[in-house]
C-alpha cells in the first residue's frame, strides 16, 4: 500500500486574509531515468540495455505524436496531450498564431492510476 506524507504549514492565505495551515504532499527524492531503468530491470529481469533502448524509442514516439496534436495513450499509465492558451479575437481576420500565448503538455491519469491514487494512504505531520 502506498503512503504519502502530508505536511501542514502555517502560511498567509491572501484570499482569506488570515493565517491558515496549508497541507502539501512531502516529495522525496527525484528518481532519475537511470535509477528508474535499474529498478525496473531488477524487478522485471529485463536487461537494462533493452530497457534503455525501449525507453528511448518510446520517448521519441510519444514526443512525435504529442507535438503533432495527438493524444497519446500510455497504456495503464494514462494519456499525454497538448494544451494551449490563447487570446480571444473579435473576428477571423484577427486570428493568427500570435494569439497563442502558451502551449504545454498535459497528463491525464488512466482509470487504473486514478484507482491507485484513491487508495493512497496519507500520514499527516506538522
Amino acid at each position: 500500500m502506498s503512503k504519502i506524507k502530508v505536511k501542514g504549514k502555517m502560511q498567509r492565505v491572501a484570499v482569506m486574509n488570515s493565517n491558515r495551515v496549508v497541507g502539501r504532499a512531502v516529495r522525496y527524492s527525484t528518481v532519475k531515468g537511470d535509477q528508474l531503468v535499474s529498478y525496473a530491470s531488477q524487478s522485471s529481469h529485463i536487461p537494462e540495455s533493452t530497457l534503455r533502448a525501449c525507453t528511448l524509442a518510446m520517448r521519441e514516439a510519444i514526443s512525435y505524436f504529442v507535438l503533432n496534436g495527438h493524444h497519446v495513450n500510455l497504456g495503464k499509465f494514462g494519456y499525454l496531450g497538448v494544451h494551449s492558451k490563447q487570446l480571444s479575437a473579435v473576428d477571423y481576420e484577427q486570428v493568427n498564431a500570435s494569439l497563442v500565448k502558451s502551449m504545454t503538455i498535459g497528463y491525464t491519469p488512466s482509470v487504473e492510476i486514478k484507482q491507485a491514487l484513491a487508495s493512497v494512504k496519507f500520514e499527516t505531520e506538522v
Binding site: V6, G8, S29, V31, V72, S88, A89
Partner: protein, 552 residues
C-alpha cells in the same frame, strides 16, 4: 526530431463577463494514438521487437507508478517529470489540520512537467490557426447558415436562398451558422415571408442594419409592417454601441466597404411592450434612436439611481435621435449640467448616468383607443373598419343610426367586415367601455332614388338628391336634375353604371343635370372621391319593372 504542427481551432463563443461574442481558440486535438500504435512506432524506430517494447514499458510504468505513489518524483529523460500533488482545504490550526485532513482532502493527482528539451520543442512547434489561410475572410466566400430558429422555437434546416419562412408579424429569428456577414446576405439575399393578419403575404429581404456581425449566431427582429403595428409592440429602442462614425446610425451601412469590416459595432434592437423598461448606461450608449407608435413615451435620466429628469410625450409616432454619448470607443465623461442629449430633452449626464425608456399606453386607456383609422359604409354595402385592437370590440359596441342594422361578418385585430342595411343618415359610433373611440356622421349614406315614369322620386333621400326630370319615354333619353349640396364637385366620371345599359351619359355641374339614353333599365352609381353617395334606379312607369325602355 522533425518539428511538430498544432492547429488552433477558433469558434465564436459568448464571453459572459464581457457580454459579447468573441472567437476563442483551443488546440485542435486529433485522434488518440493508442498504446499499441506507440509501441509499433517505437519498435520500428529502435529495431527492437514489439514484445520487448511492451514488456519494457510495462516494467517502466510499474516502476513509475510505484515511485510516484510513494512520494517520489520520477524523471523520464527528455520527456518530463511525474510527481504526485494533492489539493486540500486549509485548516485553522495544526490540530484541526491533522484531525480533519481526511475531510479536507479534495483531490489527489499526478502532475507532469515537460522536460526542458521538450519545452523547447513545443516552443518551436508550428502553430496554425484554422482560418489563417484557406478560410481567411472573403466577402464573396460562401458562408454557411446551418439552421434558422423562429421565435416559436421551430427550427428549419438549412436556410437557403429563395426559400420562404412564414413567420408571425412580430418575431425574432435566430440564424445559426458560421461567419454570418452582411457581405453574404448582400450577395445572396435571404427573403422571408410575413403572413399578415388579413391573410396577405409580404416578402421582405433581411434588414441590412443588423447583419454586420460575422459570428455564429445572428438574431434578427421583425416587426409588423408599418400599417399593422399594434400598440403593444410599437416602441423599439435602437442602440448603437461604440460606433466610430455615429452618423451612420441605423440608416445604412452601405458607405462602408465590405472589405473594411466594422469592428466593435453592434446594434441592439428590442421592442418595448407597455410597462416594460429598457435601460442603458451612458458608457454603453453611443447613440440611441427611439421610435414609437401610439404611445406615451417616458424617457428619464438617472444618476446614481436617482431620477433627475423625466420627459413624457404622447404621439402617434415619435422618432428621436439622441446625440452621441461616446466618441469612438471612448465614453464621454460628462459633468453635471453638461448636455448630452439633444432637443427636446436636453438632459444632463454624469459619468454614471443611465437612460431609462419606459413604454406606457396612452393615458392608460385600452389599446383600441384611437385605433380606428378608416371606415366606409353604404346602404346595403359592406362596412369595413380597419385599425388595431379591433378584436376586442363586440357588436353592441357599434352605434348605428336609428333603423339601420349592422351585422358583423368577420373580425380580426386589424379589420372588421360588417354589413349595414337600411342605413340612414345619422351618427355612427364605435364605443369601448362606454367611451366613444370613433365617431362618423353618415351624411353621405346611399339613398335609393327611383325614377318613375322618368320623373325622380326621392324616396328615402335625406340630403343629396330630391328631384329629377326625365323625358322622351320612347327613345329612352332622359335628363335628371340633381338637387343637393356640393353637386358642382361631381363630374361625368362620378357616374358609373351598376347594372342596366346606358349610353351618352354626361353630367353638367352648372345645372346639376345628368343626361343620357337608357337602353335597358338599371342603376347608376354616383360617387365622390370613390365614396358612393347615391344610386339612381331607373325603371319604367308603365311596366313597373326593369324592362328595357324601348320596349314600351
Amino acid at each position: 526530431m522533425k518539428k511538430g504542427k498544432v492547429i488552433i481551432d477558433y469558434d465564436a463563443r459568448r464571453i459572459a463577463f464581457k457580454d459579447e461574442t468573441r472567437l476563442v481558440g483551443k488546440a485542435d486535438r486529433y485522434t488518440t494514438i493508442e498504446y499499441e500504435d506507440v509501441v509499433i512506432k517505437a519498435a520500428k524506430a529502435a529495431a527492437v521487437p514489439e514484445s520487448s517494447i511492451e514488456m519494457s514499458m510495462e516494467a517502466l510504468f510499474d516502476a513509475m507508478t510505484y515511485f510516484v505513489l510513494n512520494g517520489h518524483s520520477v524523471q523520464i529523460p527528455n520527456l518530463g517529470t511525474f510527481s504526485l500533488v494533492i489539493s486540500c482545504k486549509t485548516s485553522q490550526n495544526e490540530s484541526d489540520f491533522k484531525q480533519d485532513f481526511a475531510e479536507n482532502l479534495r483531490r489527489v493527482s499526478i502532475r507532469f512537467r515537460p522536460d526542458v528539451g521538450l519545452k523547447e520543442m513545443i516552443a518551436s512547434t508550428r502553430v496554425e490557426t484554422q482560418y489563417d489561410e484557406s478560410l481567411a475572410y472573403n466577402p464573396d466566400a460562401v458562408v454557411a447558415i446551418t439552421s434558422c430558429v423562429l421565435s416559436d422555437g421551430s427550427r428549419h434546416y438549412p436556410l437557403v436562398e429563395g426559400r420562404s419562412y412564414p413567420v408571425s408579424p412580430v418575431t425574432n429569428i435566430t440564424f445559426n451558422g458560421t461567419r454570418l456577414s452582411k457581405a453574404y446576405l448582400g450577395a445572396q439575399p435571404v427573403t422571408l415571408t410575413y403572413l399578415k393578419d388579413d391573410g396577405t403575404e409580404v416578402t421582405a429581404l433581411l434588414p441590412t442594419t443588423a447583419v454586420n456581425m460575422r459570428y455564429s449566431q445572428l438574431i434578427v427582429s421583425f416587426y409588423k409592417v408599418k400599417e399593422l403595428i399594434p400598440s403593444a409592440f410599437a416602441i423599439k429602442a435602437i442602440v448603437v454601441k461604440d460606433v466610430n462614425d455615429v452618423t451612420i446610425l441605423s440608416k445604412t451601412f452601405g458607405n462602408i466597404p465590405q472589405t473594411a469590416y466594422i469592428s466593435a459595432i453592434s446594434v441592439d434592437e428590442k421592442p418595448v411592450a407597455p410597462g416594460d423598461t429598457v435601460k442603458y448606461t451612458a458608457g454603453m450608449v453611443a447613440k440611441m434612436k427611439l421610435i414609437g407608435f401610439k404611445f406615451n413615451l417616458v424617457a428619464s435620466v438617472e444618476i446614481g439611481g436617482q431620477e433627475i429628469e423625466t420627459k413624457e410625450i404622447g404621439v402617434d409616432r415619435i422618432q428621436l435621435d439622441y446625440a452621441p454619448l461616446t466618441t469612438g470607443n471612448t465614453p464621454v465623461q460628462l459633468t453635471d449640467g453638461e448636455s448630452a442629449i439633444g432637443d427636446p430633452y436636453n438632459m444632463s449626464f454624469g459619468d454614471v448616468a443611465s437612460v431609462v425608456v419606459t413604454a406606457v399606453t396612452a393615458n392608460g386607456d385600452p389599446l383600441v383607443n384611437g385605433g380606428v383609422t378608416s371606415i366606409t359604409a353604404g346602404n346595403s354595402y359592406p362596412l369595413q373598419v380597419t385599425g388595431t385592437g379591433l378584436d376586442m370590440l363586440e357588436a353592441e359596441d357599434f352605434v348605428v343610426p336609428e333603423g339601420a342594422q349592422l351585422t358583423i361578418v368577420s373580425q380580426s385585430a386589424t379589420m372588421i367586415q360588417a354589413t349595414m342595411t337600411n342605413a340612414q343618415a345619422g351618427t355612427f359610433k364605435i364605443q369601448y367601455n362606454d367611451a366613444d373611440i370613433f365617431t362618423a356622421s353618415l351624411v353621405a349614406v346611399t339613398a335609393d332614388i327611383t325614377v318613375t315614369g322618368y320623373k325622380l322620386s326621392a324616396e328615402g333621400a335625406t340630403q343629396a338628391l330630391a328631384t329629377a326630370i326625365a323625358s322622351d319615354q320612347n327613345s329612352g333619353s332622359f335628363s335628371v336634375i340633381l338637387v343637393g349640396e356640393n353637386l358642382d364637385d361631381l363630374t361625368t366620371a362620378s357616374f358609373s353604371i351598376v347594372d342596366g345599359s346606358f349610353s351618352g351619359l354626361a353630367y353638367n355641374p352648372a345645372t346639376a343635370t345628368i343626361a343620357g339614353t337608357c337602353i335597358s333599365t338599371g342603376h347608376l352609381r354616383i360617387a365622390d372621391n370613390s365614396t358612393t353617395i347615391a344610386t339612381l334606379s331607373v325603371t319604367r312607369e308603365s311596366s313597373g319593372g326593369d324592362a328595357p325602355l324601348d320596349e314600351g
